[in-house]
Amino acid sequence: MDLLLPPRTFRMLEGLRISPRKSQPGRVRGERLTRRAGLSIEFADYRDYAEGDDLRHLDWNVLARLDSPVMRTYRDEEDLAVHLLLDDSPSMAFGEPTKLLIARHLAAALGYIALSNGDALYPVRLGRREPPLSALRGRSSFGRFASWLGRDVADDAPTSLSSSLRAFANSRARAGVAIVLSDGLDPDAAASIRALVGRGHEVWLVQILSDLDLEPDIEGDLRLTDGEGGAPTDITANSIALRKYRDNLHEHNEGLADSAKRGGGRYAIFETSRPLDRFIQDTLKREGWLS
């Protein structure tokens, strides 16, 4: 599978970084300033000297002028946990190109950005039973990430999107930015997103939808079988049914967006017919997902 992004896209990704709405506690020193005092060069505040303080941070000018020892404090820098949750459920195999392929391209771009900025990247495959991957750091890990991304996982009993999200939420994953790349076509997806938010994650939901999802071109009397394995449904695909479907989809998407934004997260729809470059430029950069 060709997951290499074109050089033009790589050039566009240079200098971009994941821009979470809130800071997350880091686990190792990184390049993300935290609210905690630390050892970065970013000045934070003054405080009175206490015995045992490192004299290197004593403000000598203040001592000379006021004859009072005052310590300068600095903000700490830690890494950011970026959980990249790629939906690999059967419903992602629809569309031309498939929603999964588009999701992989977008994941590659976001993963590259995260790795380039020293964030800890945790790739997670939703809908498939797969052991979790350890954190990837640094640009040198992109090859490993790309290898994971391009791997097709055979699974005789795929799990649903909502089950996978709940399983992730219940895991011991450190709080961070949880980027969900999914079509969201699961009746319990919104509740699962809310569970994710409840675990302290800042959820970024990119809903990837194809034309078949947005404007299904079907007519007549049909028996619809569910790509996710749900019960088949008999429909008469007429204008009434199509209008009802679009209303249901809109309502479902509203629920997903509401769930994602509830914990300060973000939500966007990525139509598969739209170029990746345009989506990154016009949506992710313009709306502040990336800075």
Binding site: S91, F94, D186, E219, R223, L224, A231, N238, I240
Partner: protein
Amino acid sequence: MNFARPDALFLFLPLAAVIIALYLLRMKRREMQVPATFLWPTHTEEVRANALFQKLKPSWLLFLQLLALAVTVGCIARPQLVQRGLTGEITVLVLDSSASMGATDVSPSRFEEAKRLAKAAIESARPGDRIAMVEAGPVPRVVFSLSSDPVRQLAELQPLTVSDAETDAGEAMRLASAIVAGTEGARIVLLSDGVFERIDDFSQGNASVVFQSVGKSGENLAIEAFGSSESQKGRLLFASVRNFGDKVATTNLTILADGKVVDSSQLQIPSQQSQSRTIAVPAGATLFETRIDAKDALAADNYSALSADPAASLQVLKIGGEDPFLDRALALDPRVTLDRADRLPLDGGSSYDIVVFDGVASEPTTSRGVLILGKAGTGSPVRITGTAARPKFNGASSSEILKGVDLDGVYFEEIEVAQPIGSAEVLARSAAGPLIIADTKPNQRVVYTAFSPLESDFPLQIGFPIFVSNLLDFLGGEAGEGPLVVPVGRAFSLPANAPSASLKVPTGGEVQLKPNGGAVTIREAKRVGTYEFRSGNAVRKVIAVLQSPRESALAPEREIALARKPVKSTDAPLRFADFWQPLILLGLLILGAEWWLYARRS
């Protein structure tokens, strides 16, 4: 609401069962995989079925299809609305134009009222209704045949006028019945006052008969008789006036001789009674007239006339079988008043000018003329010696009787072989014997033919009516050139030697006539009054008079008898008008709605 074919309604159940069965068939749906099904509506509309059974679900499509089926079956059953109106889908209007219809007891006259009814019926007819009209006048005729063209029908109706003659209503009704023979649901509408002879010979077939009586009152005075007789005191005139009304009436009776009043008297006549007046009239007068000054409903019967020339009026008695050719030829002569009998009256026929023995053995009579056709009896101028079959004409002598008549080539099936006796003279003969023999006695003239006209093809020859006319001249005495008095409305013939002829009618117009074979047949004398006939330089006055007690008895009938079945007058009969056109429109609308619903849900 009524159905012309109610049995067709039973089609609904099996056809509805077929439609419902189609809805019971389970739909075989095309399978299609989609990313998720939970977003699709769970409620589905089944618009087709092509597999085996399922539970019947309520469906607007099913409802509309059953409704369309109901409307279609309703159309097949021919729903009809009950309406009031003279016309039906197929109608023959029979318009009585006889003398009694000229009565003015309804304004302006019964005939105009009948025309108004006919006009209203034509104008109120529904599109597609076919109407024909028969005029029941002296000679019934079809005014317009069955059509659905009201403009043309009204144009044909407008010029119709009433006559002063008697009507042959039976013939008119038979003509109307023939027009709609074999047609279901036809209607014959008779617009008349019912003043006509009883109609026994009539079959209405599948048609219904509606009689609408016209007229209110029977008040009328009429000259019921006007005649003359010779007596020892000279010529006596007899005039009788009858009051056909229910009240005593008074009128002045005036008698004129050659236009001069010779008598005038006031008569007071009780209801349904007659009063007469007999006067002696001066010798030398050629025309007698009488009139009453009654302001009654019918003016045509208030006048009568009588020619003084005894040959100008011939009372003919025909004894024997039915010979329509002879009857028609006799009727064409304006002088003839024809009576028929099976046997000679006890007075020996003295009240008749001519007695005709047609196929029966002759008997001695006292009439001044006797015609014996094919069977000589006592009093005949011949002696019979036998019979001969199919003799050929062998020649004729020159005589007034055979003037203009050519017997050469006439086929005779059988003749009596006769020998003339006495002064009898053979006028025509065949190889087997005399064919025509004439005898002139001091008080009687006799003509004998050895053949019966019906046993020859002589009646089919053009010379036959001329032969009959010549016989009447010979037996009755040739009429002079004085005024001729004829019954109004009756066709008659007059000699016309010029290539053209004309008739000046009382209303002022002039009718051009075309003579044929030295005579012209006149059918235009339909109104009472004085006509002037011209042929070359010859001019003859013809006076048409109405003397018909039947027509003068004006009281309108509210019930008539047709073939002995009573038919009551109905002002506005019921009619069944087809109602399928709006239903077809409704059915199309339902099908349109069904199509729209199907297209919307498919």
